[in-house]
């Protein structure tokens, strides 16, 4: 608990420090914006996690979202995936879909804000992909980021593993 509190403080500091920098970007064209973002603390291909067990990877300003191995394991066999529609505007930490496993419907929260560009129709057809391949074929939807700085609040893989060990979630 102490550890996660520290992590939180740490990420809060990161957030604070990133804000003024981001303000400067607002006047610059979006191409520059993403280039600047690319060299920031977040490695573009790195997988990041939320405390609600969603993961996100980013390429060219498009985030791919899924749920973690821990999440799929605790859900059990997923029998239905309800994903956000393409074109939907979603906000960070807001409910944007649901996964139904045997007898429980679990809400899916978006780890980032933006517009949905694609949903994984393969997962809609075979929800079991979420269990068998949660980081690859079992991705859920893609989002065009509007606030890339949100990613910095999320945990990297190492921190997420520590979070899993330290917390009762």
């Amino acid at each position: 608990m102490v550890l996660s509190q520290k992590l939180l403080n740490c990420s809060l500091r990161l957030l604070k420090s990133s804000r003024p920098v981001q303000a400067q970007f607002n006047g610059i064209s979006s191409a520059n914006y993403y280039r600047c973002f690319g060299i920031s603390a977040v490695n573009r291909s790195e997988r990041r996690f939320t405390a609600k067990h969603e993961w996100v990877t980013v390429a060219n300003g498009i985030a791919t979202v899924g749920i973690s191995h821990y999440a799929q394991d605790s859900l059990g066999d997923v029998v239905f995936a309800q994903l956000p529609d393409v074109g939907a505007n979603i906000k960070q930490n807001e409910e944007c879909g649901a996964l139904e496993s045997v007898k429980a419907a679990s809400e899916v929260y978006s780890p980032v804000s933006g517009t949905v560009t694609e949903k994984n129709t393969a997962v809609e057809d075979s929800p079991g992909l979420i269990n068998s391949s949660c980081y690859d074929k079992g991705w859920l939807f893609k989002v065009k980021l509007i606030q890339p700085a949100e990613l910095e609040e999320l945990m990297d893989e190492k921190k997420y593993e520590e979070f899993l060990k330290s917390d009762s979630h």
Binding site: M1, F80, E95, A98, S101, A104, A105, S106, E107, S168
Partner: protein, 402 residues
């Protein structure tokens, strides 16, 4: 038990209990704090956000109070709205809640189910049985006043289905000596027959687990309500696992809904918050007890809007995962019977495409005023009847023209 019954608060909430106002709403208010609200907030008075779990770790069973809410409504949409309101707005970190409720005749399907697979929707409408879609997963159930519903609310971290089901089986044993088992599907069964079905909704920060309990439901109505139309439906929707059922009154004639309601409520109150430890009367007396709830907008601001959502066509039928209905028809042409396949695509409850597949495997689009209309069994049968009236000369033409 008598003592508990006398603790029932009449007429909904008194002012002090208006603490039920959601913490989120309070934060928006700049006005004075509602009296007593602090009792329900978490000790750290933090937001109910991501780090809720950290706050929960130090919470001991002794510091968690329990209440039993008895809904005074028999309207399924109102009860589903009350359940959803509590799920969205209540802070359960120091207060666990059991909501007990019953409905007038209705069929309640799971969040991602297809009502046309689970029941005959047109038939339900004719019989005056309400169709409702709940927010949790799982299968379709029939409710009437002979069926008691129990909703157990906790923070997501303390969601524990086995604990809840054990409260019920213990209550049955303590009150009537009835022995029941919990199946691997988390149904409660007596000699292999199901008396209770379970479903759950997991979110952040809250979760609930609810289940039905058949006391003296009308079994004829139940099987009639859950009989579906004889068509082939192709769908990804969650399907129900149909199981043989039993009423508790057929196990023991003394069982009735009011007594079962107080037996389960009392068992819940006398058991400690996260462990199945019986604390007897002393433990029960420490709790907040039974409260009769009148689910109105006045006590639960925003409830009407949630109720309207549950009662809307858009939610009940429009949320149906897309599906295709197929029915094989026999048509006469050149004095021979030809089997053709009528196929309807339905998206968001609306018929988007109608085709006939001919014996030659050619697919012909059907032009009908049913296109872009809501799908029902009656509209399908109307269409089948109309197709039977198609003159054989037209059929012949259709066959030869392709």
């Amino acid at each position: 038990m008598l003592n508990m019954a006398t603790r029932i608060v009449q007429g909904g909430f008194s002012k002090g209990q208006f603490a039920l106002i959601p913490m989120r709403l309070q934060k928006c208010n700049t006005g004075p704090q509602v009296n007593g609200a602090r009792n329900y907030s978490s000790s750290s008075s933090n937001d109910m956000t991501d780090n809720n779990s950290n706050d929960l770790k130090g919470v001991t069973d002794d510091s968690i109070k329990k209440s039993v809410f008895i809904s005074q409504s028999y309207d399924v949409f109102t009860n589903l709205a009350l359940e959803d309101w509590l799920y969205k707005n209540f802070d359960f970190s120091h207060h666990h809640l059991l909501m007990l409720w019953a409905n007038d005749p209705c069929v309640v399907i799971g969040r991602h189910q297809n009502p046309f697979i689970e029941a005959n929707v047109s038939n339900l409408m004719r019989k005056g049985i309400t169709l409702a879609r709940r927010n949790s997963g799982g299968g379709a159930v029939y409710h009437d006043r002979g069926n008691l519903n129990c909703t157990f609310f906790t923070p997501r971290e303390r969601y524990n289905r086995k604990y809840n089901l054990n409260i019920i089986t213990r209550a049955l044993f303590r009150e009537w000596g009835i022995k029941s088992d919990i199946s691997d599907r988390d149904d409660i069964v007596i000699s292999g027959k199901k008396i209770s079905g379970t479903a759950a909704k997991l979110g952040q920060p809250n979760a609930y687990h609810h289940c039905t309990l058949l006391v003296n439901s009308n079994k004829l109505h139940l099987s009639d309500a859950l009989a579906k139309d004889e068509v082939n439906i192709i769908s990804k929707a969650t399907s129900s696992v149909r199981s043989p059922i039993k009423n508790l009154c057929d196990v023991n004639r003394a069982v009735n809904v009011p007594q079962l309601l107080s037996a389960i409520g009392y068992e819940f109150l006398r058991t400690s918050a996260t462990e199945l430890e019986d604390g007897g009367r002393d433990q029960a007396m420490k709790q907040r007890g039974f409260q009769l709830i009148n689910p109105t907008e006045k006590w639960f601001p925003g409830l009407t809007e949630i109720r309207e959502m549950f009662a809307s066509w858009d939610w009940r039928l429009g949320k149906t995962p897309k599906f295709t209905v197929q029915k094989e028809l026999e048509m006469k042409a050149e004095d021979k019977e030809h089997k053709v396949l009528l196929s309807l695509d339905v998206e968001k409850g609306i018929i988007t495409n109608i085709t006939l597949t001919l014996p030659t495997n050619d697919v012909v689009p059907v032009v009908s005023n049913l296109l872009n209309q809501p799908y029902t069994e009656d509209s399908l049968h109307g269409m089948m009847d109309a197709l039977k009236l198609v003159p054989s000369s037209d059929m012949k033409q259709a066959m030869s023209g392709l």
